[in-house]
C-alpha cells in the first residue's frame, strides 16, 4: 500500500521564537499555537480527534499527551508522544498521516515546542537529561560539549576526508541569515553577516564557530493533518504528504560506523521512492540545520549532490529565497532560533507557507514541491518528508 498523497497539511501556526519567555509555560505556548492552527484550518476544537506531541523542553514527560489534552480540554481518539529528538516534528507529521489514512482519527493536531530555561540547559542535570547511560558512563568523563562536540567530530572528519573548508560551512550561515532578514519572526533578522563575520566569531569546538551554532529559545509550532479527500474542501491550499521516510543507525555519534555518512541516505531514499520523485524535482529544501555541517551531510546523503561534494555544492549555489537553490528560507534554525522541538517543526511550517504561497516578501516563485528533513541527536534519527501542492505529482 502506498500512502503517498493520502493525507495533507490543512492547518498551521507558529509562534515567534523568544529568548525570554516572560514567565509563560510550555503548556501555555502549546495552547496558544493549537488555537491558532485550528482557526487556520477553519476547524473547531471539537473537530480535532488526533493529538501528537513532541516532548516538552522542561516539564515532566510523564503522560505528556494526556497532560496536554487535559490542559486544552480535548478528548482525542488517537494520541501519543513522538521522541526522535530534532526529527520528532517530521516524524509526528508522518504518524498523523498514517492515522488519518487508517481512519483512527479525522484531523490530527501535531504540537511542538515549549519554554527554554538557560539555567536548566547549562546545568549538569540538564546535560545529563539528554544523555543515554552509555554517554554518561563512557563519554561524560572526557568533557564532551553535548551536541556541539558531536557535530565537531563529524565536521573535522568531513574536512579530512573530502577537503570541505570552513568558508563553505560558514556560507550556509551567511545565506540563511539573508533569508532571515526577510522573516519578521526570525530571532536574528536585523543584521546581515559575512563569511568573515562567521569565521571571526569565537571558535567554540573546532571547527565550529559561535555563529554556526543554533540558539536555543522558547516557542511553539503546530500543524493539522487531514485526509486528502477532506483537505480539498478546507480553506487552505492543501499541502500533500507525498513522501515519508525514516532511519536510525545510532544514538551517540561515537557508535556510527561512518560518521560522515548519515541515515539521511536511507530516510530520504525511502521518501523519494514513496513519492516517485527525485532530488532534482524539488523547488525548496527545508533542512534541519543545528550546524552548517548538518546541512552539508543532509544535501549529500539525500542525493542533491555527490558524497563529499556538499561543501562545493553550497559554495556554487545561492541558497537564499532569491537564489537558484532556496534552502531554509525562514532563516533556518541558525537564524530563526531553535525553540526546542519546535525548531524541527519550523522546517515543516516554512515549507507549508512557501507551498501555499504565503511566504510574503521571501516567497519563492516555483513552489510545487519541497523536501523537508528532520534530524535528531548527532545525525542519529532522520525523518524525511516530501510535500507537494498536487496530490499526484509524479514526474
Amino acid at each position: 500500500m502506498n500512502i503517498s498523497g493520502t493525507a495533507a497539511i490543512t492547518g498551521m501556526a507558529e509562534l515567534k521564537p523568544e529568548i525570554d519567555a516572560g514567565g509563560r509555560s510550555s503548556l501555555g505556548l502549546l495552547s496558544e499555537v493549537a488555537g491558532r492552527a485550528i482557526k487556520d484550518a477553519g476547524l473547531k476544537k471539537s473537530d480535532i480527534d488526533g493529538l501528537l506531541l513532541t516532548p516538552p523542553a522542561e516539564d515532566s514527560c510523564f503522560m505528556w499527551p494526556a497532560q496536554v489534552a487535559e490542559y486544552l480540554k480535548m478528548s482525542p481518539s488517537y494520541l501519543n508522544m513522538v521522541e526522535l529528538g530534532g526529527a520528532s516534528a517530521c516524524a509526528a507529521v508522518t504518524r498523523a498521516a498514517l492515522a488519518v489514512t487508517a481512519g483512527l482519527c479525522r484531523h490530527c493536531l501535531c504540537l511542538s515546542g515549549g519554554i527554554w530555561d538557560s539555567q536548566v540547559f547549562n546545568s549538569r542535570e540538564g546535560k545529563m537529561a539528554v544523555m543515554s547511560r552509555a554517554e554518561i558512563n563512557y563519554e561524560l568523563p572526557y568533557g564532551p560539549m553535548g551536541f556541539n562536540s558531536g557535530y565537531a567530530l563529524i565536521a573535522n572528519r568531513h574536512m579530512y576526508e573530502y577537503g570541505t573548508t570552513p568558508e563553505q560551512m560558514a556560507k550556509i550561515a551567511v545565506d540563511q541569515r539573508q533569508n532571515a532578514l526577510a522573516n519578521p519572526d526570525a530571532l536574528f533578522n536585523k543584521q546581515a553577516i559575512s563569511i568573515d563575520d562567521v569565521l571571526n566569531s569565537p571558535l567554540i569546538v573546532d571547527p565550529i564557530h559561535l555563529l554556526e551554532i543554533v540558539r536555543p529559545c522558547s516557542g511553539a509550532a503546530a500543524v493539522i493533518i487531514s485526509r486528502s479527500e477532506e483537505a480539498i474542501d478546507m480553506p487552505n491550499v492543501p499541502v500533500y504528504l507525498l513522501g515519508m521516510g525514516e532511519a536510525c543507525t545510532h544514538n551517540s555519534i561515537i557508535y556510527s560506523d561512518n560518521i560522515t555518512l548519515s541515515p539521511v541516505k536511507f530516510s530520504a531514499a525511502r521518501a523519494f521512492a514513496m513519492a516517485g520523485l527525485k532530488p532534482a524535482d524539488m523547488d525548496l529544501l527545508s533542512l534541519y540545520d543545528c550546524y552548517p555541517i548538518t546541512v552539508i551531510i543532509t544535501l549529500e546523503d539525500a542525493g542533491f549532490c555527490k558524497k563529499g561534494e556538499g561543501g562545493g555544492f553550497v559554495q556554487s549555489h545561492d541558497l537564499t529565497y532569491r537564489g537558484d537553490l532556496p534552502l531554509n528560507t525562514h532563516g533556518g534554525q541558525l537564524s530563526f532560533g531553535q525553540p526546542s522541538y519546535a525548531g524541527g517543526m519550523s522546517h515543516v511550517s516554512e515549507a507549508v507557507r512557501q507551498l501555499r504561497g504565503e511566504a510574503e516578501t521571501r516567497q519563492i516563485e516555483n513552489n510545487r514541491l519541497a523536501f523537508v528533513n528532520g534530524n535528531g541527536g548527532v545525525m542519529s534519527t532522520q525523518s524525511s518528508l516530501i510535500l507537494g501542492r498536487e496530490r499526484n505529482d509524479r514526474r
Partner: protein, 126 residues
C-alpha cells in the same frame, strides 16, 4: 555484565585496557553490554587490548560549561580507533590541541578524573 557491572570500565591501578568481545561472533563490543548486540545470546568476555590506535576524529573544546573542565580548556575530545578495530571516546593528552591530527598514532595513558582513573591517549612513542 562486567567489571563494575558496566558502570565503570576503568579501575584505579589498572594498566591494561580491556573491552568486551563475543567469542561466537568474533567481534569486539563497545560500550559494555549484558549480551552481545550482534547475536543477542552470548555473554561477552573481557579481552585485553594492545592499548594502541589512531585518531579517527577529534575536536578542541574551547568553552566548557562543565565545572570540572572549565579550567582545562582548550582540551582535545576525540574518537580513537583501537588496533582491535573498535572506536572509543577519549581525550588526547601530552599534545597541544593545534598539533592533534586525524590518523595520528596514539597510545594508552591514564589520568585521574573525578576520583576515577580513566584511560586517555597520548601521541605514540615511535
Amino acid at each position: 555484565m562486567t567489571e563494575d557491572n558496566g558502570k565503570k570500565w576503568f579501575k584505579k591501578g589498572r594498566t591494561v585496557l580491556k573491552v568486551q568481545y563475543c567469542p561466537v561472533c568474533e567481534k569486539y563490543i563497545f560500550f559494555p553490554r549484558e549480551l552481545c548486540p550482534y547475536c543477542l545470546e552470548v555473554k561477552p568476555e573481557w579481552k585485553e587490548t594492545v592499548g594502541r590506535g589512531k585518531i579517527y576524529s577529534y575536536t578542541a573544546v574551547r568553552r566548557s560549561s562543565l565545572p570540572e573542565f572549565e579550567d582545562r580548556v582548550p582540551y582535545t575530545y576525540a574518537m580513537v580507533e583501537l588496533h582491535e578495530g573498535i572506536r572509543i571516546p577519549t581525550n588526547i593528552v601530552d599534545c597541544p590541541v593545534n598539533k592533534v591530527r586525524i590518523g595520528m598514532p596514539v597510545e594508552l595513558a591514564w589520568i585521574e578524573e573525578s576520583k576515577d582513573i580513566i584511560p586517555v591517549f597520548r601521541p605514540a612513542t615511535p
